[in-house]
Symmetry: C2
Subunit: 353 residues, 2 copies
């Protein structure tokens, strides 16, 4: 099994290195992995003039799965899009057609104190946001800024085809089927025609999954309910831009952003696995970032793209044990716990594996 390791920018390489450690520990008495590193993001732009060098893209395409860190830093935000680190990720998503972005959000009892939500509200939170990742206003044409009647005008196009909606709807129903059998589709069908089509197609696809309970929410109501009753959700399926917002809001509920993995998968089951947190350039290079989201992303990769559920479970158990033993990185530190740096946390997990 061949894994492309793209650490990227900011804390990306540091946390990804700990996930690599975990994979090596799994490989010590289990499946063998070939891991190849390559540059992406600002790091790649600085070195080679392109945030997504062709060599990196081809490595990613050839590999069985991609372990990704983070791309982009504040520095590149002012550069033209094609030179920004963050855009490397958008290009890779589109190029590999990674349309299904799964973001599980779960409350970790040991870390309940880190949440801004009340403990009783947090209890039983265990949901997945499935965000469509290759369509919507992110990629729709026409787009741009032009001058009209003497002033600047900006436009972007929200756009979904029936087949784009259909495939992510199937992914949503299948995910729900494997969980609590509840799918909530989020749209804005009361205002946007694109979302009327979204609701119609999701409803049509739903007829093939009579065992899954389908509900619909407008995006504003969904944002409310996520805060009000997060434990009511199972799988949420939504478009790219609404998913961007809702998945980050959902990630915040548990207070442990540094713990949350994600997967972006295409029709062949190939996927890019990355922590939900970003490149956090302000804390990069200081050995204080939490590597657990990256380590848990490696576990997701083993289960979803590499057919290694046992390896995945070994990593997840190890993370739970390390937390139960009271080890914490700075972001989730509590009174009485043992503070570890990035490397030491990676070592602790590897040892438990």
């Amino acid at each position: 099994m061949h894994i492309a390791v793209l650490g990227g920018d900011g804390i990306g390489p540091e946390v990804t290195a700990q996930a690599v450690k975990a994979l090596r520990a799994v490989a010590a008495n289990g499946p063998q992995f070939e891991m190849t590193e390559a540059k992406i993001g600002d790091a790649a732009f600085d070195a080679e003039g392109d945030p997504l060098p062709e060599r990196t893209a081809q490595l990613a395409e050839r590999a069985d799965a991609i372990l990704f860190g983070a791309a982009g830093t504040f520095d590149s935000d002012l550069r033209p899009p094609e030179q920004r680190g963050g855009h490397a990720l958008l290009r890779l998503r589109k190029r590999m057609d990674l349309f299904a972005n799964f973001r599980p959000v779960f409350a970790i009892p040991e870390l309940a104190g880190a949440s801004t939500l009340r403990r009783d509200v947090l209890k039983n939170v265990d949901l997945v946001v499935l965000r469509e990742l290759t369509g919507d206003i992110y990629f729709g044409q026409p787009r741009g800024i032009h001058v009209e009647g003497g002033e600047r005008v900006g436009i972007n196009t929200m756009r979904y085809t029936e087949s784009e909606i259909r495939r992510v709807a199937h992914a949503g129903f299948q995910a729900a089927r494997a969980r609590k059998k509840k799918l909530c589709s989020v749209d804005k069908a009361n205002v946007l025609e694109t979302m009327v089509l979204w609701r119609e197609v999701v409803t049509e696809v739903g007829r093939e999954y009579p065992d899954v309970e389908l509900s619909h929410l407008y995006v504003d109501a969904a944002a409310m309910l996520l805060i009000r009753k997060p434990a009511d959700f199972d799988v949420i399926v939504t478009g790219n831009i609404f998913g961007d917002i809702l998945s980050d809001a959902a990630a915040m509920l548990t207070g442990s952003l540094g713990m949350l993995p994600s997967a972006s998968i295409n029709a062949e089951g190939k996927g890019l696995y990355e922590p939900v947190h970003g490149s956090a350039p302000d804390i990069a290079g200081r050995d204080i970032a939490n590597p657990l989201a990256s380590i848990l992303s490696a576990a997701m990769m083993l289960r979803q793209s590499l057919g290694q559920p046992e390896g995945a479970a070994r990593i997840e158990r190890a993370v739970r044990r390390v937390l139960a033993e009271g080890y914490r990185t700075a972001d989730i530190m509590e009174d009485g716990a043992h503070l570890l740096g990035t490397e030491a946390m990676g070592d602790a997990v590897a040892k438990e594996i």
Copy 2:
């Protein structure tokens, strides 16, 4: 002073009737108001075949301010847009150019128990979401569902002109100037050109307000921070669709959606004042809805459109006293409090005025 009273659908008329009571109580020893009622929403569609009858629209335009309840119920969601109650509101916003939607969100210490957030996080939450209300993907052309290559395709257009952004930016800086002097502009400039223009224009306008501290957040980060550190915000200015989502999320933080007023104002200072909650048809007609958001909307109206800050303060003090005395409607009920119905709560506030 002439007020158009548009109760609308669901609990709209019930709660609006209590706000009218409060205004009468203010008028008993203060300014005189002429109030004229008219139909809007599903109620208007059922009676006259149009959710925004021309007579209602003209009354709204002629009046000095509009006291609005709620429009639309689930029933009409399946009808074509122009027949849906909710669309009456979109049409009225556009027709009267009510571009600046202010939604204050404040923690009420007496009601802290109703929030799903931890009490310490809630403390000092006092922010305003300023949502642009007449542009963006809500109104952009082209839009619709068409067939392309044998399948249905939905499109909508996000669109902002420089002048649309400029006027709402000014409204934001002015609001911040009157408060804690912090304006946070929320966009998605890392992906959308429309939002690049948004950021540029807000930054330009900011040069005229050197006393206001301007910051920028991407919408996904803003959704996170609202949950993580809500007390850090003062005024948030954003576009129509992001504002729809963020203002509802923000409203949920305090746990007292039934308490939150809003104002939608145009360039002449005319405004439509309405509770943030919707028509809630499931509880309509049962005398259990919380009228305080509508009553506080009437106070906002006195202050912002009718030049009656003293009348506004009288209403707001009365609401605080009624809460301090332990009176509650069902939605904010706690152990040991006195439960009141909609009418009785309206009476209690009027008596305190």
